[in-house]
Symmetry: C2
Subunit: 115 residues, 2 copies
């Protein structure tokens, strides 16, 4: 028997999802690849979809999560701002803390499952 | 600004979802109403759908979560077994513990959101 526990956290603001697993994964892919288009490819989503998600996030935050540096020897590049970094860090920390805190009850539920 | 945090926990067994928010809500509605059909109405799902979910759960567990008492002055009735009770209790306890443990990081993320 293979057991997998999924914990998904979403922060809703007014009607829409301000922060959720898809947006955090996108921020991480942008940080890793240095571009929205490479991040979109990595996550197998369209560039348009990735751009919309970044735009939604940037608008939902006090300051943008994703910034593009103009010019320079690398001709500009896309990276996370301090806000974007903090968002990813707190989201993953919240997940880890949740999982740890829930683990005794999750173990108890798992023991109720048939072999 | 209205912020809402959703934490969803799902326990997958092999391929399918053995325990998740829909199934737990169904168990709670069965406990409250004493019948699968009344629980289905309360949750605005078809009786067929509710029955399939109960059947899936019962099969995934060492012993059934939902039991039907035969006969008696009330002509039988549907209720949670000790396993069903334990499942609901541990699921809600896991959610509460998760939420509490994640709250400092959730508060930090919330502070990053625009007003």
């Amino acid at each position: 028997m293979k057991i997998k526990v999924q914990l998904r956290m979403r922060i809703y603001r007014d009607e829409g999802i301000a922060i959720g697993p898809g947006k955090i994964a996108l921020l991480e892919a942008i940080a890793a690849t240095g571009s929205i288009s490479a991040a979109a490819r990595q996550l197998e989503m369209s560039y348009r979809r990735a751009w919309v998600l970044v735009d939604e996030m940037n608008k939902a935050l006090k300051s943008p999560a994703v910034v593009t540096a103009a010019g320079g020897s690398h001709g500009g590049g896309t990276a996370l701002s301090a806000t974007g970094d903090a968002l990813v860090r707190h989201y993953r920390a919240a997940e880890d803390a949740s999982r740890l805190a829930a683990s005794p009850d999750i173990a108890a539920m798992t023991r109720l499952l048939a072999d």
